[in-house]
Symmetry: C2
Subunit: 406 residues, 2 copies
Amino acid sequence: MLHVKTPEEVLALIECEFHSLGAAEQVCLVDAMGRCLAEDIAATEYVPDFDRSTVDGYAVRARDTFGCSDAIPAILPLQREVLMGEGAEFELNAEECVAVPTGGAVPRGADSVVMIEYTEDYGDGTIGIAKAAAPGQNMIFRGDDVYPGKVILRKGSVLSAQDIGALAAIGRVQVPVVKKLTVGVISTGDELVPPEAAPGPGQVRDVNSPMLEAMLTAFGAKVINYGIVVDDEALLSSKMTQAAAECDAVLISGGSSVGVKDAACRIIESMGRVLLHGIAIKPGKPTILGKAGVKPLVGLPGHPVAAFFVTKLFVLPLLDRLMGKKRERYTVTAKIAESVSANHGRAQYHCCRLERKDGQLIAYPIRGKSGLITTLAGSSGYFCIDRDCEGLPQSAGIQVTVSTGD
Amino acid sequence: MLHVKTPEEVLALIECEFHSLGAAEQVCLVDAMGRCLAEDIAATEYVPDFDRSTVDGYAVRARDTFGCSDAIPAILPLQREVLMGEGAEFELNAEECVAVPTGGAVPRGADSVVMIEYTEDYGDGTIGIAKAAAPGQNMIFRGDDVYPGKVILRKGSVLSAQDIGALAAIGRVQVPVVKKLTVGVISTGDELVPPEAAPGPGQVRDVNSPMLEAMLTAFGAKVINYGIVVDDEALLSSKMTQAAAECDAVLISGGSSVGVKDAACRIIESMGRVLLHGIAIKPGKPTILGKAGVKPLVGLPGHPVAAFFVTKLFVLPLLDRLMGKKRERYTVTAKIAESVSANHGRAQYHCCRLERKDGQLIAYPIRGKSGLITTLAGSSGYFCIDRDCEGLPQSAGIQVTVSTGD
């Protein structure tokens, strides 16, 4: 019999037992959104590749404007105009100026741009500059943004829209990303019927496989849903073996009867090794984690609420680990609307609804008997009461993990 | 000339000028993940449809156990056993018990279940009960979770994995969701080349259209990317008209030269109405919002960083509005690592990187000249310095909006 482990011990075990699978593929730029970067990305060229103006105005040598003012403008002949999208492959003459648009190229020799607002076109081929320019003013210099060799994104990051923008800027239109994991989902239980079926006496619909499929798909995995398998050890074993052959990880949920709980454990043992049996959280205690080769096999509780928390808290970090994905999970601060008592000795997780009142977030714990799926529906997120804590008084500050796709 | 509006005024204008388009479609359960619910969802049946045990044990009439203890167990004949997934369409005899598994059906007449841990099977057809049961104990009653007519999810919610679970529980396998919006994206600028091209002198790669396409796709829109259009008013006008005919909303970014800025405004005016020209934020001031019929036409700044903020702050809420989507955007509390000065009179947005130190989140503002796309790359999120604020001292508490898919 294995010891029940604390959440911290489970996460440490995952770090220790599982490692990045390392498989990568190239995808095109827009498809890289939300994917995990498989290697550091360094620029191979300068961005911009030329000195650029950040305003509409006149490129000058700053020293030619020193001392000028509204009263005594510096009067500089207009050497020429640079158009948008055109190079400026010439040298600015001393004591002259060149008209440049925002984003336009600035000629050699110019070290600053005076905004058009501070100038006057006298119409005789000269421009009056009413404000002295400081060197570097209103310019982006070649390579200010990136230069060859500069690492702009790190391996393991989950690519955001702004990262896609940065990749576009450096011309990286094929992006090396970690391959999607294939995760197998199996539900077991003689009482289960598929969601589309009408349950007969003593039957309920299978909640876990569609819920897990949705969660894992949003996480970015490919899901093979093996559907419902009856509580028969030989059948379960053969389905688990098939899933382990076809997938990178297998989740089996249910098996709530005593005999079958042991069966899941025996099957995982026969396929490889059981790493833990039981986690000190509520709900979610009867969880099994094992591995067959490098592949995790997870026995999730049958209760949908328990299966939900175990997947959020341990399975997704485990899948992150397999992908080498670096990801922070942030929480928001809220005040709890009513007191909640806790169970000694186990970290206790509660779903809640968040509402903003007078600029403050208020968390309403969703109460209900364990096993009620509606304690999840419509919730904004969840919070945890530590195992050492006897409960939370009304208005206590809590950290809420907000529901997102995964 | 229209007044520059504050962010609050812009959001109020969006509320006032745009409304839900109302188009809905049915999708299957797992595909409903992340979609916006088009109507309230009420249950049409009881879940569970029978009284259920939450433990492995014996269903009893609680009063038959009153007064029992370890020393003096109540001895009840085992009437029969209910198997998992089988109905219990019979009545429990008085002063007898029925074996039930976790999740199994409990017969009529039973009002509680005693956990197997507190019982002993004497092997002679009787069971010893060592702990008195309270009525209702260890049971979920018919309809405890949902009953016909109970609204479990509200119109406008973005469906999470747990909501998919709740829909599965009530057998709602076809889900009415709001149709995806089709959003057209146009980049304009004579200096722009596609990301896959090598920029010539004075040219830069188009960052905005792939960045916006990624952001809008993650938001849940279909994107038609019209690519780059040169700064020519007639061409732009014809492309905008085509996009407005094909899409629910059109974003045009760029047009940074003075003449073209006016062109975008004139084109939007000619297609419908300009609602605002200029927002009091930095970066992002030169933004145009208009409408043609019920369709928004947005002129975004050409600077990628400005286009990013305007899209996050105003375009996505506008698209939420068109979908009737109710969504909270939460922020996390962090301490700023270094002081940041601010511009008077405009709300100022900064990207930052978050790091956890001693359990506290530290925000490192990403500095750089405006227009550098790498000030976005790898950032964890962003924060705002209010227009009335002169800057933030080191270690000030700030609210960071964390980067997510959309």
